[in-house]
Amino acid sequence: MTRTTIKGLLLASSILGSAGLAHADTTLTIESWRNDDLAIWQEKLIPAFEAKNPGIKVVFSPSAPTEYNAALNAKLDAGSAGDLITCRPFDPSLELYNRKHLADLTGLPGMENFSDVAKSAWTTDDGKATFCVPMASVIHGFIYNKDAFDQLGLSVPTTEEEFFAVLEKIKADGNYIPMAMGTKDLWEAATMGYQNIGPNYWKGEEGRLALIKGDQKLTDEAWVEPYRVLAKWKDYLGDGFEAQTYPDSQNLFTLGRAAIYPAGSWEISGFNTQAQFKMGAFPPPVKKAGDTCYISDHNDIGIGLNAKSPNAEAAKTFLTWVASPEFAEIYANALPGFFSLNSTAVKMTDPLAQEFVSWREKCKSTIRSTYRILSRGTPNLENETWVESANVINGTDTPEVAAKKLQDGLDSWYKPAK
């Protein structure tokens, strides 16, 4: 704790160039997995807060995304975690709250700025207590290379059939890899693949809630069909996609070698700086023209208070600020693609981000099917979905076998409430 504080102070003083002598400032440390956002916190968010709240210093201290959950749990158990905890959505944070690592924030001034849906990812099952301030959600869809589409005379596909027709044309032309996605890191296949196109087949919230209730099973047609579609993607991925990692996919697309990128909106800011061509986005294609479209608008990030923080008052001041429209506006514009969950409408300037968020008007929103309740047991449904989605695309498992494995795993511990 002391060491991180000292390190944090050194970091803060060197980067912010604060010349102030050591008077009794409170230093708040934020734990986060968003190491990509370090610059934004240090240059925009923290100065904006510190200007208004003299006496409170904030240090943003991120760790690697894949290690965050394990590292955070260990730090919390050892009592060395920071004052503010960036919250993963749903069960991981709920578990932290149940183990009294996160403080109850239900009465926090500023909480009224969020709708129940926005808070759902960080609220107990009975809806009584909220333990994290919602920060942002991410939307899934496809980002495409507009220049490539113009060059090949392609129009944005709206149905599954059109989508594969477009892929076929790009493949026939041969100049571009039709779609940039790999299965090496497993989660791309699940998150950018299955959870991206899936909601159109299982009808978003309707299917997700039915699954939780036990009325539907993962072996039902609505849940197997997206796997069948995913299996067809194989022919349109780049050479050696089995060993293609997530950064490989990002680079293939931003270097202009691939035409379509199955995306999450969090890519927008990175792509804006990397890509030298015009980009557009389209929502996951529906099965038949005229079908209602569903999008995955997933509550992704919140921030909570370490229950053992010695600086709880200062931390609450900070959290109230995070709940304010001011924070929402800075955050949403600094990080286009992380859409504010604040009830106050935020004006965004990025065209790609505007395109993504516009789908909220015409499509129905849902969250990722595996995140709430269904990943509480062993085997973990989310992790299994990673493995099976990659298997389906690699051709290791057929869609039916993959679905059966997932359902069997779920059945082994999950008993739907009657």
Binding site: T183, G238, G240, N383, A390, N391, T396
Partner: protein, 315 residues
């Protein structure tokens, strides 16, 4: 550990007691106990406990019953153990013979630049596994990798495949990366053993007309067998404790389709959790306890059965 016991025996036999031996051993003993033995005992203890109805309680062999009895736990465990044995077999079949061959070549007196080769071959062992993993991931990358390019130059591009991404080749590829990294250790140990063979023995052999290959098989190999035994046991312990390289190259889920999952990665996922999966300390400790038993069994087999039968030669 063995020499320590023998010194203690000697000190008890003679009078006056040589207390300074104990004093000199103490720092190492304290450090070793604090960082190795106590955590080991604590892990073993934890494998007999679990949370029952929210209470931390003694469950006897309950955790082990779940690990071997529950079809999913058992499938994961046996898969990891099978992969681990395969990982070990590749090391034994590739790393150690090549290590012996390299050592034999290095010990040829006429060889030029032998110091350079020795250093160059030993160097990867000194590199961090993170660097090794990252370099090889890049080399083997089908998109930017130098491997497909080099193979193309010699007209072998058709042989290239995204090895790290295929369930049937990923484990072999990762094992070979590990072999590449650690080949220096058997080479050095066996090289030292070869240098220890007295010249008189070799000269006597030559007088008897035993030269070249038959000299290696009949004279040198029997003399370096104890060194090969040590190398094998080091490989065994290292392989069954392996985790780092697989984690850096294939991630904690040890994909694709858990084909590179070994005991170390299974333990990590279980103990610390991964992504939405929360850590389960009791089951993690149970897997760690099994790993300890496997390694203990392997080392005991070597110490009590193989090493005793091995013939040693005194010069």
């Amino acid at each position: 550990m063995k020499p320590r016991e023998t010194t203690m025996d000697v000190s008890e036999l003679k009078r006056p007691r040589r207390w300074h031996i104990l004093i000199f051993l103490l720092p190492a003993l304290i450090v070793y106990t604090a960082v190795m033995i106590l955590p080991l005992i604590e892990t073993l203890r934890q494998s007999f406990y679990n949370t029952v109805d929210g209470q931390y309680a003694f469950v006897g062999l309950g955790n082990f019953k779940v690990l071997f009895g529950d079809p999913r736990w058992a499938a994961d465990f046996w898969n990891a153990l099978r992969n681990n044995f395969f990982f070990f077999l590749i090391h034994m079949a590739v790393q150690n013979p090549i290590g012996v061959a390299l050592a034999a070549m290095l010990s040829i007196p006429r060889l030029r630049f032998s110091a350079f080769y020795r250093t160059a071959i030993f160097l990867p062992t000194l590199l961090s596994f993170v660097i090794v993993g990252f370099i090889w991931k890049l080399i083997l990358s089908p998109i930017w990798g130098v491997a497909p390019y080099l193979m193309d130059l010699v007209g072998l591009k058709w042989l290239f495949a995204p090895w790290l991404g295929r369930p049937d080749s990923a484990l072999i590829a990762v094992s070979l990366i590990s072999v590449w990294q650690y080949i220096g250790i058997p080479m050095m140990l066996i090289y030292a053993a070869l240098l220890n063979i007295p010249d008189e023995v070799i000269e006597a052999a030559e007088l008897d007309g035993v030269t070249g290959w038959s000299q290696f098989w009949k004279i040198k190999l029997p003399l370096i067998l104890p060194a090969i035994g040590i190398v094998s046991i080091l490989t065994f312990v290292g392989n069954f404790n392996a985790f780092d390289l697989i984690y850096t190259v294939q991630g904690a889920l040890a994909g694709p389709d858990k084909s590179t999952d070994i005991l170390g990665t299974l333990l990590y996922r279980t103990f610390f959790g991964f992504q939405l999966q929360l850590g389960d300390r009791s089951m993690g400790a149970t897997i760690a306890a099994i790993m300890f038993l496997i390694i203990l069994a392997g080392v005991s087999l070597y110490l009590f059965v193989i090493q005793r039968r091995m013939r040693r030669y005194q010069f």
